[in-house]
Symmetry: C2
Subunit: 633 residues, 2 copies
């Protein structure tokens, strides 16, 4: 049953921490990504996204054209870019950018085939191979991202052209899979959640029906991809169609319990499942989502909100396998986890979902982006070893500094669209209740008439001040890591019960509410079931996991031991440190350098202070050691 | 300059610990391997080694025959098997086995081509592709093992047929590479050390010349394999000819400093280099060996004597990269390290070489073999995680129990031949000096007239008793881990200087010498440069590294912490424990089970005893946790 609705993208005006990141998206990332997509940025992996649409249009008109360039899912970058830009211009209007997007949308429209099909790769070079390779060709995945982009641009600007294009495309897909009953389901889930977005925006029942269909048929015939493979004489990468878990064909979705396979495919799927479950009150489907959620957050998630431990298949592996230095923890997977969490919240209001949104956002999503907004991590390891990380084959994926772009460039535009729309994850509403999930500074106008101003230094400050206009209730999330907290309304302590992580407070005009959380730095210990984390301790402050870099610690964090008998101290926020942050200072010991690889001489330890920074800000100062989980002493 | 000579294989009669293992080789491994090689052992990977020789002979005679089966280097298993069997029958005569080997040698002889070429794969199926693919085809590698087998069988039995065959084969290779000046060098080094063995046995100068040639030309043209690849239209696996380090083509050998590439290829090469250096007094070559030695033992070796950290290319990686759970540490690589160490000893008499022979032998070589002699490890990880080790892709190679055989079966026969000939590594001689490197119980007859009886429980006992017959000197190695030791001759303390790890003692008839070492268990710490080993401690007793298995510790060693303030206690030797061993008991703490994946509740610890066994004996009691490096508290 649907518990709440997102606020419109235009309903939130950011301030504070969120505004700073959204400004970075607006000023740096979006223009940078446009330059990359239009092949104007030197010294990065070539993108060619816009040129692909131009060439597809030319191909349709029978004009001379260049070949398609890039990954088979290159179009998805167009969808994600427009989506991010659309969100961005709602708060940072940019007429010049809007003109560019409108022109781009014209190119997209011109690249759509008459029957509604839209995919530059197959229009340019493989017209007769449409829909033959659901395993690898990503046609439904790319369509999904384009649908999301179209919805966002319509929401942000009221302009309907792109949405029209994509509605026509959805109708084409509907005809293919529902009317003509084509077999199969997306090799890379994504369209399910996109269709649900379009359904909520347009109320087009075909969207819901199609999303439900793809979810219902998945895994019912686990051998579908093998049959498909046998039916065609071509492939893209030669993916193994029997790699059931990788492509989520291993069982019907309602039977799933363990989070397995490619972590982004998996979590996009779970998001679509949760979307459909809330819209259709499908209990069985929701129960599967709940089991999968538990599998992720209780057994397969890093303390940074990273998921997918292994670069082999970019995948979940098994319970409690969470290596630090070889972690994959793709930026996109944490974004997908936030999507999943937000949809779980729409099924049941529980603070744990918002906790994970916070965790993934303030750690792995933000660590995906360099502070200048121009370089990006794909994998987000929890330990960096100079000479090893990013260098030797076992650690090739675990880069120690962010590259400028990727041949497979899913992460940068994904982070941009998430950050630019974080207001929609922070606030939602149901009837007369305004929900405050993440503490996003700024102004919000709910459809139910409540207007709210939120002021906070969160994730650095421990207080959140709300000023209310209108009447109704506000539901404020209490974080699970803050055992102590207080809620004060107009100077009076609110004693409302904490119901599943939320305090519900009746409000009327001019009410002022102050939430105070316990942001005392805390040591965090991992279950002894995680072999790699035994004997280790991490430090968290509020939603932020901290890390320790060589550059703050005489070049060497591996010889440091944290003294957990002494409480860590948070230093003052300094806007000149790493674009604005605060360090922590932890008491500890440094092992004196040992001579020889192995020695039976007992090591000597010297007391020392150990300096940490938020994990999200690591690798902004060149190659150096980094460690989240420190040795304890 | 050659410092000493090996003793003949027949000069040592084993007793005690060595005898126990050599008996296992004789009674279990050799018959088992014969059954495997002749396809008589059910439920293991098919070998077909003997059938390949039969079919090659038939092919040569123009008879109908089956196809070649197995790896391109399948013949090498014949060489290693005969070598192991030859050593074995010197101390455990076995007429039936000898008959089988003689019959096998007849088959080998019949499989040799007229011009001396001998390789069943190319004789059976690719006659016209001989010597076209040094990169992958392993013709020189297989020949090397066959040469070693032939030398051993001649040494053990005086029978010359196999040696004749291989001398003819060497002459064929000599013609090819020296007379006809064929370009290139072995893709997998091995023949260099084999040729040096044959040279020492037969004094055939072509052997020395050929070994020198292969060493001298290696890497001088690093692009040789690329040219070779371009010159042929076929391949075996499609190895990348530009993978210079992998195949040791990256630079001329005299310029090498870092141990890189496939660890067995590398260390076989270094062995051959050290062989040639000692025979030819090639200082420059020896200096390269010394740099490579330092690179291995000071920066790239596990505490178990394992080398080659990564399963990617079965290779050395970079300094201080020594992960535990994903360690490759191939059994063959530790065997190669013993070879290399023994040849370094022939260049300069330093105890450090014998220390590493001990370390590799008593830990990784012996861990390669199940105590019943019938199952074998290829990779020897230092941590086993049930559900992860051997299961998920990053850990697929790191099996948690020993398989019965391997498609690529290099390790089992390699371990057999090493163990069966360990006397030759334990003792050597030069002029009137008898060297005692490893403390191998038994009787030795040196060519210089000294006869020696060695009695010891080593590696379990701390005393070694020598009884001497004859006159001269004996040089007894003092282990580096034993800071305290005493040497008593006929009741009198010997005060001779420890010269590079050896005590030189004049002896005459009936002298009795007792060496006492300090076998107190010791904690060992790793350099802080090894990221994976920070905060960890290992326990060693004498040459043995200990490990901790779940089966001895309530199923869970990951939650255990060693208390390094309390000295570990060695339990009594028990011949019924794991085929005869002794456990250790270490004081420590057990972390109480934590609820949840992450918790900010400070963990509770309960005092507990922790039980360890020698690393070499792990995985003999089913799947369970194992850890060498324990958390310290």
């Amino acid at each position: 049953m649907k518990t709440m609705n997102k606020i419109p993208i235009t309903a939130y005006k950011p301030d504070g921490f969120v505004r700073r990141y959204q400004e970075l998206i607006s000023k740096e990332m979006i223009p940078y990504q446009y330059r990359v997509l239009s092949n104007q940025e030197p010294d990065v992996e070539k993108s060619n996204v816009i040129a692909n649409f131009i060439n597809a249009g030319k191909a349709l008109r029978g004009e001379e054209h260049d070949d398609f360039y890039g990954m088979v899912f290159q179009d998805s970058d167009a969808g994600k870019f427009i989506e991010a830009a659309a969100y961005s211009i709602t708060n940072f209007p940019n007429k010049e950018l809007e003109v560019k997007i409108d022109e781009f949308i014209d190119l997209i429209e011109a690249a759509q085939e008459e029957d509604g099909y839209l995919n530059t790769r197959f229009t340019i070079k493989d017209k007769n191979r449409r829909w033959q390779n659901l395993l690898e060709a990503h046609e439904l995945y790319s369509a999904g991202h384009m649908i999301e982009g179209a919805c966002a641009y319509y929401e942000a600007t009221g302009k309907r052209k792109f949405l029209n294009v994509m509605e026509k495309n959805v109708e084409h897909i509907y005809n293919k899979f529902i009317v003509e009953k084509a077999e199969g389901y997306p090799g890379h889930p994504e369209i399910e959640l996109a269709l649900m977005k379009m359904y909520r925006l347009t109320n087009n029942k075909h969207c819901l029906e199609l999303a439900q269909h793809f979810i219902d048929v998945r895994g019912v015939d686990p051998h579908f991809y093998e049959k498909e493979r046998r039916s065609r004489d071509w492939h893209i990468w030669g993916n193994n169609p029997s790699n059931y878990e990788y492509q989520q064909s291993h069982m019907p979705v309602r039977e799933m319990s363990d989070a397995v396979g490619h972590s982004v495919r998996a979590t996009y799927l779970y998001t679509g499942m949760a979307d459909v479950a809330s819209e259709t009150s499908d209990k069985e489907l929701f129960n599967a989502c709940r089991r999968l959620w538990d599998s992720i957050v209780n057994k397969r998630m890093y303390i940074t909100g990273g998921i997918g431990s292994s670069h082999h298949g970019e995948a979940f592996t098994t319970d409690y396998d969470l290596p630090n230095d070889t972690a994959y923890a793709e930026t996109c997977a944490s974004i997908a986890l936030i999507f999943f969490a937000s949809r779980m919240l729409e099924n049941e209001i529980k603070g744990e979902y918002a906790d994970i949104m916070d965790l993934a956002f303030y750690n792995t999503v933000l660590s995906g982006i360099q502070i200048d907004g121009k370089r990006f991590f794909y994998a987000n390891p929890l330990e960096a070893i100079p000479g090893v990380s990013g260098r030797i084959p076992t650690h090739g994926h675990a880069r120690i500094t962010r590259p400028g772009w990727y041949g497979c460039a899913c992460c940068p535009p994904n982070a941009a669209r998430l950050i630019a729309s974080i207001g929609q994850y922070s606030y939602s509403e149901k009837d007369d209740t305004a929900f405050c999930h993440m503490y996003a500074s700024g102004d919000v106008e709910f459809k139910n008439g409540i207007k709210l101003n939120c002021k906070t230094e969160y994730p650095y400050g421990d207080t959140v001040d709300y000023k209310i206009n209108g009447n109704g209730k506000i539901a404020i999330r209490i974080t699970s890591w803050s055992e102590k907290y207080s809620v004060i309304k107009n100077g009076q302590t609110v004693c409302s019960e904490n119901i599943n992580g939320y305090i519900y407070i009746p409000v009327c005009d001019n009410d002022e509410i102050k939430l105070t959380l316990d942001m005392t730095p805390r040591f965090v210990y991992a279950s002894e079931k995680v072999a790699d984390l035994t004997g280790k301790v991490a430090v968290c402050v509020g939603p932020m996991t901290y890390c320790f870099e060589g550059v703050d610690n005489d070049g060497d964090v591996f010889s440091l031991y944290v003294n957990t008998n002494e409480t860590p101290i948070v230093e003052a926020y300094d806007e000149n440190t790493l674009g604005g942050t605060r360090k922590i200072r932890v008491k500890g010991f440094k092992k004196e350098a040992q001579s020889g690889l192995y020695s039976s001489k007992a090591p000597k330890y010297i007391e020392t202070d150990i300096i940490g920074i938020p994990y999200s800000l690591w690798a902004n100062r060149g190659e150096n050691q980094m460690r989240v989980w420190m040795n304890e002493k």
